[in-house]
C-alpha cells in the first residue's frame, strides 16, 4: 500500500464527509449561526451592557471567543458522531471496511470531516460576530492552533460516540447531558476567577475551560489558565481519544460481529 493509495483513500473519505454536511447545510451550518446570533443579541447587546466589563473588556468582546469555540466544539462533535453512526446504521460503513483502507486512515478521514465542519461553522459565526463586536486578533498562531486542535479533539470524541452508539438516542445523549453543560461551565460567559475557590478548583476538572481560555487568549490576550498547560491538556486528550478509537476500530466494536 503506497502513499498515493493512502492519499486517494483519505481524500475520498474527506470529500464524502464535506459533501455530506454541505448538502444539508440548512441542518449543519445555518442552525449554529442563528443560535450564536441570538447569544450575541441577548447576552451581548441586551444584558451585556448591564454587566459591565470582564477582565478589562466589555462583556460582548469577552464572550465572543467562547461562543465561536462553542460552535466549533458542538459541530465537530455532531458531524462525526452522526455521520459515523448513520454509516453504521445504514451499513454503508462496510464499503470502507471491505477495502484495504487501514483503520487509522478511516479515523483520520472522519476526523478531517469533523474539523472541516467545525472550522466552517466557526468561520461563519466569526463573520456574524463582526456585526456585534470589533474582533481583534491578539495572537494568530494561538488562535488557529487552538481551534484546529479543539475541533480534532471533539471530532475524536464524536467518533467514539458514533462507535459506541446503539441508537440515534445515544448520539444525542452525550451532547445534551455532557457536552453542553461542560461548555456552559467552561468559562464562556464568565471568568473562573469570579467563582469561589472551591468551584474554581472544580472547574479545573473541565477540559473545555482550557480550550476556551486558550482561544480567548488568541483574541484578547487574556486567560485564566497557563497557555502551555492548556496545550498539554488538549494534546493529551487527543492522544487518549485517538488511541481509544483505534482500539475500537481494530476490535470492530459495533461494526464487525
Amino acid at each position: 500500500m503506497n502513499a498515493r493509495y493512502l492519499y486517494i483513500a483519505f481524500q475520498t473519505i474527506v470529500i464524502k464527509e464535506v459533501t455530506r454536511f454541505a448538502r444539508i447545510w440548512q441542518q449543519t451550518v445555518l442552525p449554529p449561526v442563528i443560535t450564536t446570533s441570538l447569544y450575541f443579541v441577548i447576552f451581548g447587546n441586551l444584558i451585556g451592557p448591564r454587566i459591565g466589563e470582564m477582565q478589562g473588556f466589555n462583556y460582548m468582546d469577552f464572550i465572543v471567543p467562547g461562543l465561536i469555540l462553542m460552535a466549533v466544539i458542538t459541530n465537530s462533535y455532531a458531524n462525526v458522531a452522526s455521520s459515523f453512526y448513520s454509516a453504521k446504521f445504514q451499513r454503508s460503513i462496510e464499503e470502507i471496511l471491505v477495502s484495504p483502507t487501514p483503520s487509522w486512515l478511516i479515523l483520520a478521514g472522519y476526523i478531517s470531516g469533523g474539523v472541516a465542519r467545525g472550522i466552517c461553522v466557526g468561520f461563519v459565526v466569526s463573520l456574524v460576530s463582526l456585526f456585534f463586536s470589533e474582533l481583534e486578533v491578539h495572537n494568530f498562531v494561538v488562535l488557529i492552533s487552538v481551534v484546529i486542535l479543539t475541533s480534532i479533539l471533539f471530532s475524536l470524541a464524536g467518533f467514539t460516540n458514533g462507535m459506541l452508539a446503539r441508537s440515534f438516542d445515544d448520539v444525542s445523549i452525550i451532547p445534551t447531558f455532557v457536552l453542553t453543560p461542560l461548555t456552559y461551565l467552561g468559562g464562556i460567559f464568565y471568568s473562573v476567577k469570579l467563582l469561589p475557590e472551591f468551584w474554581q478548583n472544580v472547574s479545573l476538572g473541565n477540559p473545555i475551560l482550557y480550550m476556551i481560555n486558550a482561544f480567548r487568549y488568541g483574541f484578547l490576550g487574556i486567560t485564566d489558565i497557563n497557555l502551555a498547560w492548556s496545550y498539554f491538556i488538549i494534546v493529551m486528550f487527543i492522544v487518549v481519544l485517538f488511541s481509544i478509537n483505534l482500539i475500537l476500530l481494530a476490535r470492530g466494536h459495533g461494526i464487525r460481529t
Binding site: T12, T19, S92, E94, T257
Partner: protein
Amino acid sequence: MQLALQIEGLAKTYANGFIALRGIDLSVRDGDFFALLGPNGAGKSTAIGIICSLVNKTRGRMTIYGHDIDIDFSSAKACIGVVPQEFNFSIFETPLQVVLNQAGYYGIDRRLAHKRAEKYLTQLGLWDKRNDQNRMLSGGMKRRLMIARALIHEPRLLILDEPTAGVDIEIRHTMWEFLKKINAEGTTIILTTHYLEEAESLCRNIAIIDHGSLVENTTMKSLLRKLQRETFVLDVDQPLGDLPNDIEGLRRIDETTLEADVSRGDNLTRIFTELGTHGIVVNSMRNKSNRLEQLFIDLVRDGRESRA
C-alpha cells in the same frame, strides 16, 4: 493451478455462544464459478463475512490468492469484491457517488474511476440513473448497483451473497449472462443462492454447508451424478382413458398429465415405448423439481440424520 481462496479450519462462535462455523476447509480455484449453498442459518453468510473482514473469525486460516488475510490484509482485500445480501449503501447518495467512492477506498484515481463507473453502470443498465438518489432505485437496480460497486476495482475474486434475491426473472437472467461474461473474462466467482437452478446453470463446483459444517464439496457434474431418481412430468395429447395403472414408474395425475419416476440406470425409452403401445403421444416433458434441489434436500437431510 493457483487457488483464489483457501480456507483451513475456519470456525466462528458468536458472543451469544451460537456456533456458526465448526472448522470448515474449502478451496476455490482461480477462474472458478463456485456455488456455496446451504439452508438459512447454515453459516454461508458468516463464512463470506469472514472472507470480507466484516466478521471476526474465532480460529482458522485463510488466504486470498496466496495472501494471508491475517498477515497481508491489504493485498488480500484488494483481490476481493463483495456483493452482500442486504443493501449497504447510503440511500442519500447517487449510484455514481457510490461507485466513485468505492474506487477511492481502493486507491483508484478519479479519472480512471469515472471511466470504470461509466463502463460498469452502463453494462448493468444504471448509467441513466447515475445521478438519481439511491432511495429512488428499484430493488433490482439496487442489487445491480452493488455489483457495479463490487467490480469498480476489478477484483480477481467476486463474492455474491444471494445477488438475485427478490429480482424479477428477466433481470435475473440478464444478471446471469453478465456474471457468465465476467467469469469468462477471468474473474473467479463465489455465489450463494437459494435458487438452485441458478447454481446449476452457472457454477462448475459446489460446496453445501449446514449447521456450520461442509456436507458436500465437489464438482457440479459429480454431484448431479449422485442423483438416484428423477421425476418427470409428461403432458399427453389426449385423455388417458383406460390406460392401465400398473405401468412401472408411472403415475396418473389427471386426464392429460402423468408423472414418471426414473431411477438411476433406468431410462425414459421404456416408458415412452409402453405409452406408445397404448397409442399415447407425449407432447411435452419437464423435470418435476430442479435436480440440484432434490440432491440438496437429500444431502442436508442425510447430514442432519447422521448428526442426530
